[in-house]
Structure formats: C-alpha cells, structure tokens
Symmetry: C2
Subunit: 266 residues, 2 copies
C-alpha cells in the first residue's frame, strides 16, 4: 500500500459511517489540503456505492480540517441502474469540515466520441521547473508528497513577475511512484497554487466551492494540469483545472469558486 | 409581480420549510426545466439567509419534477460574516427531486479586477434566429416563457446540419418584460438546447449535476449565453455556459454533467 492509499483509507463502521485518519503529511501549513480531504471522503463513498467511480463531486468547504481521527457520514440519496447519488460529510471533532454531493457510476473505457484539445500547449517536462522547497516552519508538508513541474511563466509571480492573468500549469505526479487513479485525481484538481497569483493576488485563498468531474480513468505517467480563471471580482475568483493524462486524454475537469487573499494586488 | 416571480414564489412555513407551487408553464414536455426548479429553490434559500445573493449553487437532479405543490427543505450548514452555506432539497410528493448545496453572500457591485472576454463573438441579435414554436402536443410550455435568438450555426442541427462540435449560443430574455436578476440567471444557465446536439447527438439528455456561480448582478437587457463542451465520452458530456449581460459583464458561469440521449449519433 502506498503512503497516499494509506493516508486516504476509509474503514467501514456501518452502512453510513466510515472512520478515517487525516494525515499530517497533506498539510498546507496547518489545515489540510482540500483535494486530500476529497480523496479520503471519496474512498468511503466509492466503497459504499454499487458503482465504482466518483464521476461528479460537488464540495463545499465549511471549515479547515486539522490532522487526526475523523468520520465520513453518508446519506444515500438515489440508486439507479446507471448512477448512485450520495451526500457525504467529513466530520472532525463534531464539526462538518466538508459537505459534498457525489454521483458514482461505472466508466467503461470507451474512446472519446468527441474531445477538445488542451487550450495551451505545455513545454516538455524537462523545460518545466519546480518551486523551491517550502521552509520547514511553514508546515507545508503537502509539497513533499507530490511533484509539480511548472510551465515557467505561470510561476513568474514567485519571483515578482506575474503574467497578469489568472493561470497556473504544471505536470503532476505523486512523489512515491503510484499510477494515477480517481482518488489521485481528487488531489490533482486542487494541487496548483491559486490561479489568482498569476494575476497579482497574494495570500491564503480559501476555496468556497469546488466541483469536479471524472471523465475517464487515467493512464500511467505524468498528469498535466491546465489551470485558468475567467473573472476576478468583488473578492471572488474562479479557477478551472483540466487534467490530461499521459496518453492525451481529458480525465478530469474542475472548477472552484474561491475568495481572494487579503492584501492582494488586484 | 411578473409571471416568473409568481411561478418561483416560496412561502415560508417555518425556519427550514418553504411551500412552493411548481408551475406547468416551465415544462419541457412533462417534467419541469431544471433551471426553473433551481430558481424556485433559490428563492427559499435567499429568503432564509442573512446574505442576499446565491453566489454558488451545486445541484444534483435526482428525479424529474412534475407541476404542483412542493416543498423546499433547508438545512443550515454554516453562517459566517461573508457567507452562509445551506443544503436545500426540493421535495414533491414525498420524493427529493433536486438536492443542492448553496452558498449565499453579498455582491457589492465592485468593478471587475480582471475579466476574460467571451470565447466567441456573437452576431448582432437581429442576425440571430428563433427556433420554430414546438408542437402543442409536445408539452414544451417553457418556450413560451422565454425568448431565445440563436447564433445560426449552433442550431444547424435542427435542420440536419450540426457544426460537429458541442456548442450552443443565444441571446436570452424572459418573454414577459423583466430585468434579469439572480433567479432569472438560474433559469438562463439551463435554457439552451444541449450542446451535444451540435455534435450530432439527439434525444433527451438528462442533467445529472449542474453547478453555477453568480459572479455579478446583471444589467437590464438581453443576456448572452455562450455554451460549449469539452468531451463526449462513455455516454457522458459536459456543458459549460457563460452568461454575459448587456453591459458586457460575465454575470454567471455554469457547468453541467449530463447523459447522452439514447439513439444519438456520436
């Protein structure tokens, strides 16, 4: 079992309750990463469903979650031939941290009938760059668990040269070798620095809502994350992330609505 | 009171229950339109919230809803200074038809700090076309309540000439004169024919999940709906709709995941 599989384990207590252990290795400086929380919650949802794949997940982030024991509470809403719909809530220390509506189904691997192509071509991975390791006192343990290789202009903000528009692009894989699966994709859709950083914003950008759709099972290898935004207004911004696999398939689509950090430049 | 305002009224029974009357005028041939159902549900959510605007709505469509009396049941999840999060369920005849997670907040009308532009330029409204009225026996009453003027190529499928890619674009307004507001936007984001029709698909395309974000309060006048899709695969397709107001502002963004109709060409 890989570290990621272990850290996202969900142990069945009864039909509607799973125990989980929120792992300090997925921290973004105290609170845990939202994608990691979704991956853990989705393990419980998928285990309890007659359908194996979380094709659609809508998540409201209610409260920052700290490491430690927690529960996933399921409420079955509908089961049909094609889909199962479940409400799933991650509860830690009596508080709901994450509330979700999830549709599960079975993706059968049929080829795409029609597909768009990536909006932006990525340079080869060798021409992409890592960000420096965070200072140990930052508590950003998440960056040790995953490898990100950024399209250089989209991390220009890091050295004071933002591109001026919301964007963020990188190759992604887990640090410990593991083929991507739907749970790794849940982590991947929330793995990029906020796209608003490239537009000059700064600071903690809390996600309010994130919806992502699993569109195909990913092939082994690097994933490509193409992040962009359409509007920064009234303290809110949107972040769209497409995940493409190494075989060139669009495997996940996400959009989140987030708050701008304080002290931002826009 | 306009017909639309009347048809989406939600009457408070107690803190967590609202009575509604689902209006037969918003039917798509028996079942009611999903955008109309969202608008009605959001009236209840907004009335019960200390924050006036539904900035983020994630909806799972569980069961087709027929006209008649129904209830909106609210479950408050979080109230903070900036946002309130509510779970809201539309229940008709004992069955949950629509289950949602909604964030309300107050948009203050600040100008955009950064905005994209529409991906496709629309021809002027005079060069756009209406579709013929549906046959009375189709039960498509919805089309009498709203005016849509389509970008001609994107309704080529209607005369056997689909463009070959998922897209749908139109100007939109209510048939009875009414300035757009957030509830009209809830109707607008689900008002276009499925984008998959332009890619050659046919038949009833049930929405499984739809998430939309209110990004600004719309100016009076025509709304512009820009619909597109990224992938048609395994019986599923995505539909993205941006709503731009007459002043050129991006006022709403939606994405839905839907099932392809049976007997489709793709």
């Amino acid at each position: 079992m890989t570290k990621f599989d272990e850290a996202t384990q969900a142990i069945r207590v009864d039909e509607t309750t799973y125990d989980v252990c929120l792992d300090p290795g997925y921290s973004i400086g105290g609170p845990l990463n939202g994608g990691y929380l979704m991956a853990t919650l989705l393990r419980a949802v998928a285990d309890a469903s007659p359908h194996p794949h979380p094709v659609s997940t809508s998540a409201q982030f209610l409260k920052a979650a700290l490491p430690g024991p927690a529960r996933v509470v399921l409420e079955p809403l509908k089961t049909g031939r094609t889909t199962t719909v479940t409400r799933a809530t991650l509860v830690r220390d009596g508080d709901a941290c994450l509330d979700t509506l999830v549709t599960t189904a079975a993706l059968d691997g049929a080829p795409a009938a029609w597909s768009a192509t990536p909006a932006v071509a990525m340079p080869p991975v060798e021409e992409c760059v890592a960000l420096p390791d965070p200072r140990p006192e930052s508590g950003m343990t998440l960056s040790e668990r995953m490898e990100l290789r950024y399209d250089p202009p989209t991390v220009g903000w890091f050295t004071g040269a933002p591109t001026g528009r919301p964007e963020s692009r990188a190759y992604f894989r887990l640090a410990e070798p593991q083929d991507p699966d739907p749970f790794v994709l849940a982590l991947a859709v929330d793995a990029l620095p906020p796209v608003a950083f490239s537009a000059g914003a700064r600071g903690w950008s809390p996600t309010v809502e994130l919806t992502w759709h699993l569109r195909a099972l990913p092939a082994p290898g690097w994933l490509t994350l193409i992040g962009s935004g359409r509007l920064i207004r009234d303290g809110w911004f949107d972040e769209d992330v497409e995940v493409w696999d190494a075989a060139g398939n669009l495997v996940a689509q996400s959009r989140q609505l987030a708050r701008l950090g304080r002290g931002d430049a826009t």
